[in-house]
């Protein structure tokens, strides 16, 4: 059963090599309802990945806490599976074994494990590649393996840290569709970190905007789905884009110039 995710007064302070203290997160507080698709947007080095790592339990907060339902997050676990920016598919396991990894770790009986794996292989369109090695797959296919492995462990919350950042435009668009289909089917809560505003507009119900580690805005994205070019060119979408750019301190001209 899906649970509310609450961020309460979250601080994360790192000590730089020079001895200077850096506030990666500053008093971040917000709540996410079950089944929401949340995009965390911000410039590089402004705390997006740190927020996700604290939620994953890979990084302890300096102060504050995150609650998943009634439980305080205190370490990594399969209830918050994560898809990383870099390639984290296990190269020594076949595609099928990669998807089975979490289920094996949780000691799911063989028959059930095989059936779950077959379902997610089919869901990401990799049934024909079940016995392939990851090195035989394209970058986009490997991301699908990582996505299926995260979905297969049955977590309520899926964390995604710029997962499609290294892929070309067409592969990325294809994976957006795959992800949205899975999200609609499973109703899981998804936290998706990106610095690409267009990607956030395609995917999100809500955009959490971080600047210098502070939550500067929480923008609902009430655009109709599917979000094709026409929807993304609508006045509402342009307004959201302008708001995000303004918070990030980027003028429209700068954004156009890239």
């Amino acid at each position: 059963m899906s649970k509310v995710v609450s961020f309460e007064g979250l601080w994360c302070v790192f000590e730089h090599r020079s001895g200077q203290l850096v506030n990666a997160l500053q008093d971040v507080t917000f709540k996410v309802e079950p089944g929401e698709f949340v995009c965390v947007v911000g410039r590089s080095g402004h705390g997006k990945t740190t927020l996700l790592r604290v939620l994953a339990g890979l990084q302890p907060p300096t102060a504050g806490q995150i609650q998943l339902g009634e439980t305080v997050v205190s370490g990594p676990g399969a209830d918050r599976a994560m898809v990383f920016q870099q390639d984290t598919v296990f190269p020594w396991l076949h595609v099928r074994e990669n998807i089975e990894f979490g289920l094996r770790a949780m000691k799911v009986p063989t028959e059930e494990r095989e059936s779950i794996t077959a379902h997610w292989l089919d869901a990401v369109g990799l049934t024909d590649f079940a016995d392939s090695w990851p090195r035989e797959l394209s970058g986009g296919m490997r991301k699908r393996v990582a996505l299926a492995a995260a979905m297969a462990v049955g977590s309520d919350v899926i964390l995604m840290d710029e997962p499609f950042g290294s892929l070309d435009y067409f592969t990325r668009r294809n994976l957006h569709e795959v992800l949205l289909d899975l999200w609609r089917e499973t109703k899981k809560t998804i936290f998706f970190v990106t610095h690409d505003i267009e990607e956030a507009l395609i995917l999100a119900d809500r955009v959490i905007l971080l600047a210098e580690g502070k939550l500067v805005d929480d923008i609902p994205v009430q655009l109709s789905r599917p979000r094709d070019e026409d929807v993304r060119a609508s006045t509402d979408a342009v307004d959201i884009t302008k708001t995000i750019l303004a918070h990030l301190g980027i003028t429209e001209e700068e954004a156009i110039q890239g």
Binding site: L58, A78, M82, P91, W92, A149, A150
Partner: protein
């Protein structure tokens, strides 16, 4: 491109692959031929090494002629194989045990069978052949290298989980690792004596492979991406499952490469210790012939024995390459490493 074109491209790729494989074998054969030609040239009368290097055919004939039993050794040496028990056909445990642990200890009742020493004249003919000595050397080195590999990997990987192990072992390994291992060889012979090969030949090989495999396994584990381990953690991986499914398979290419290097060194090291004084083994045969270098057959014997260990190392390495290629078939770098 039509489907016929695709099939044609694939067939061409297969043909190319087959051609490459045949070429690899041909290069290998060509290399061996070059080696024998160079050897033959050095053995000609015009060569400055004429008296030291016999023609290849002489060395091969000498080796095959003395393999099962050696009348030359029987006639010339009062001492052949006191560590080898004559009733090996019926008591293999005593045979292997005495050749590994040493006859002195097995004859004092540690192993079953008749413990009485046999007079030299009553030793079976096989004791004077090269085969039994070479087999004993191979067994000692393989057991030593295997033991060292298991120890090195166990200590190396557990030092990542238990930092105290690394704190204790790394300085020791670094200290001995900086000293050339061949310097340690005479000390092993002096400390443990020639009567207990398990502590000398096997001990030194075990010690050497443990050091190497410790460093290789630590480096292999450290090279596993942090992202992969973190991904395993968020998928619900326990320390045990991460060790089994991430660290063990992920470290295979580097560990396997390290084992090839360790074993290549172990052949030289094991034979060297035997040359220094062990009473049975291929190194002991080399030592005996070394003292009789003036005899007409001595160069043939020495070159044949040394070449045997060279060929053995190449053959074992070839078998390892096939095994490593299978174990690392998931990895491009592993496949390259195995080539």
């Amino acid at each position: 491109m039509t489907s016929t074109d695709v099939l044609d491209v694939r067939a061409r790729a297969k043909r190319e692959q087959r051609k490459r494989r045949i070429l690899n074998v041909l290069y290998l054969l060509f290399g061996m031929l070059l080696f024998f030609v160079a050897w033959w040239l050095l053995s000609l009368e015009a060569s400055p090494f004429y008296y030291d290097i016999p023609p290849p055919i002489d060395a091969i004939q000498h080796f095959l002629g003395n393999l099962g039993t050696s009348s030359e050794m029987r006639a010339k040496f009062v001492h052949a194989c006191p560590d080898l028990h004559p009733d090996r056909a019926t008591n293999w445990l005593r045979q292997v045990g005495s050749s590994l642990i040493g006859y002195k200890y097995t004859n004092e009742g540690l192993l079953p069978g008749d413990p009485r020493p046999i007079p030299l004249g009553q030793l079976p003919e096989g004791c004077y052949g090269y085969a039994i000595h070479l087999v004993v050397t191979i067994i000692r080195i393989l057991i030593g290298a295997t033991l060292g590999t298991v120890l090195g990997i166990t200590i190396g990987l557990s030092s990542l989980v238990f930092p105290k192990v690394a704190q204790v072992f790394t300085p020791v390994a670094s200290f001995f690792g900086t000293a050339p291992i061949f310097i340690a060889a005479p000390f092993f012979v002096i400390w443990f004596g020639v009567e207990v090969p398990i502590m000398t030949t096997m001990g030194l090989v075990t010690f050497y492979t443990t050091l190497l495999m410790y460093f290789f396994s630590r480096r292999a584990a450290e090279n596993i991406s942090v992202g992969i381990v973190e991904s395993a953690l968020t998928l619900g991986g326990s320390p045990r499952s991460i060790f089994r499914w991430v660290y063990l398979p992920g470290t295979v290419p580097e560990i396997a490469g390290g084992f090839r290097i360790a074993l290549a060194g172990a052949w030289g090291l094991g034979v060297l210790v035997e040359v220094l004084g062990i009473q049975v083994g291929g190194g002991h045969l080399i030592d005996i012939w070394r003292f009789l270098i003036g005899l007409i057959e001595a160069p043939s014997a020495l070159v044949a024995l040394i070449t045997f260990f060279g060929v053995l190392a190449v053959v074992v390495d070839g078998i390892l390459v096939v095994i490593i290629r299978f174990l690392t078939r998931w990895s491009e770098s592993g496949r390259r490493l195995g080539l």
